[in-house]
């Protein structure tokens, strides 16, 4: 589908059949010019709702999307930084190993205690 601003206007109004709507959406996904037309036509439609309209719809959309992709990028960058930190890279396996050992120790403790107790008993018995 090539650029068709008239269909973009009807898309805005929810006045397209499913097949055409899908084609318009696919077109919008790759056509920046038609996206800008969508923003401009929305601005006119929304002027009727008032009392005020966004002065520059394109700039505003960019602002919102930068905040969204920025925060997403920032989160993934923070995650990447965290994951690449030596303490995490080597510390995490070490912590897991320590936890496993600790679990094993806790599991083993009652046996030792029992053995210790038995031995204490046996000491006292010896006494």
């Amino acid at each position: 589908m090539s650029c068709n601003p008239e269909l973009v206007s009807a898309f805005l109004d929810g006045e397209l059949d499913e097949v055409i709507r899908d084609a318009v959406i696919s077109h919008l996904m790759r056509c920046e010019t038609c996206c800008q037309v969508l923003g401009k036509l929305s601005q006119v439609r929304d002027a009727f709702l008032g009392p005020w309209v966004l002065p520059d719809p394109d700039a505003f959309t960019s602002l919102v999307m930068t905040a969204i992709t920025g925060s997403r990028g920032e989160a993934s960058s923070r995650r990447d930084t965290l994951l690449s930190h030596p303490l995490v890279r080597f510390g995490a396996p070490a912590a897991l190993a320590a936890a496993a050992v600790s679990g094993w120790m806790q599991h083993a403790q009652p046996v030792q205690d029992a053995q210790g107790g038995a031995s204490a008993n046996s000491v006292s018995d010896h006494r």
Binding site: P5, E6, S9, A10, L12, D13, G14, E15, E18, R21, D22, I25, L28, M29, C35, L38, G39, K40, L41, S42, Q43, V44, R45, D46, A47, F48, L49, G50, P51, W52, V53, L54, P55, D56, P57, F60, T61, L63, V64, M65, A67, I68, T69, S71, R72
Partner: protein
């Protein structure tokens, strides 16, 4: 989920930010209009509109589609505006903002206009009126029936006794001409009287 935005919402849920961008372009003005009825500072309206979309994006996976996407977005916008009013100690207007027929967003929200919003509405409407007056009669009628009476293209076609394609064309060309005429006001004169 309401058919209209289902595809875009599903794509956005799947991580397609371009799909969300189209939703932003489609609804940013409506969200700003909702917020500007209770908050008169323009910069603050833009901040709260942005905040609404950020919250919506973060909560998108929780949107089950029981209502239309805009209805859901509208609730977030109303709550964002309410929270701002409470946190800034201004309180919520006496006639509290409630969710009504959001597709007819203008009439029920008009009741909550602040004096500044009413003044701005007057200014904007005057510019709109002047722009509409310059349209051809057929374009003007199609635009008025659509924007002020909320008629569908089919209803307008019936009323104007013309094919739906002609209605679509008249509405598009009418919007385009209004945009061109209002460009100066929108970019330079907006809210100057406040």
């Amino acid at each position: 989920m309401t058919e209209l935005d289902v595809d875009l919402v599903e794509r956005a849920k799947g991580g397609n930010t371009k799909a969300f961008e189209i939703l932003v372009r489609k609804y940013q003005g409506r969200v700003a209009a909702v917020i500007s009825r209770t908050v008169s500072d323009h910069d603050r309206v833009q901040d709260l509109t942005q905040e609404t979309f950020l919250k919506a994006y973060r909560a998108l996976n929780g949107f089950r589609g029981d209502s239309a996407f805009f209805t859901w977005l509208y609730r977030i916008a109303i709550n964002t505006a309410k929270n701002y009013l409470i946190s800034s100690g201004r309180g919520i207007p006496d006639n509290d903002l409630e969710l009504g027929e959001v597709d007819q967003v203008a009439p029920e929200l008009r009741e909550t206009d602040t004096p500044e919003a009413s003044l701005l509405r007057g200014e904007l409407m005057e510019n709109l009126r002047l722009s509409i007056a310059k349209l051809t009669p057929a374009m003007r009628e199609a635009i008025m029936l659509r924007e002020l009476q909320g008629m569908s293209y089919e209803e307008i076609a019936e009323r104007m006794a013309c094919p739906i394609g002609t209605v679509r064309s008249r509405i598009f060309r009418g919007r385009q001409e209004i945009a061109d005429i209002m460009k100066n006001y929108i970019h330079h004169g907006i809210g100057k009287s406040i």
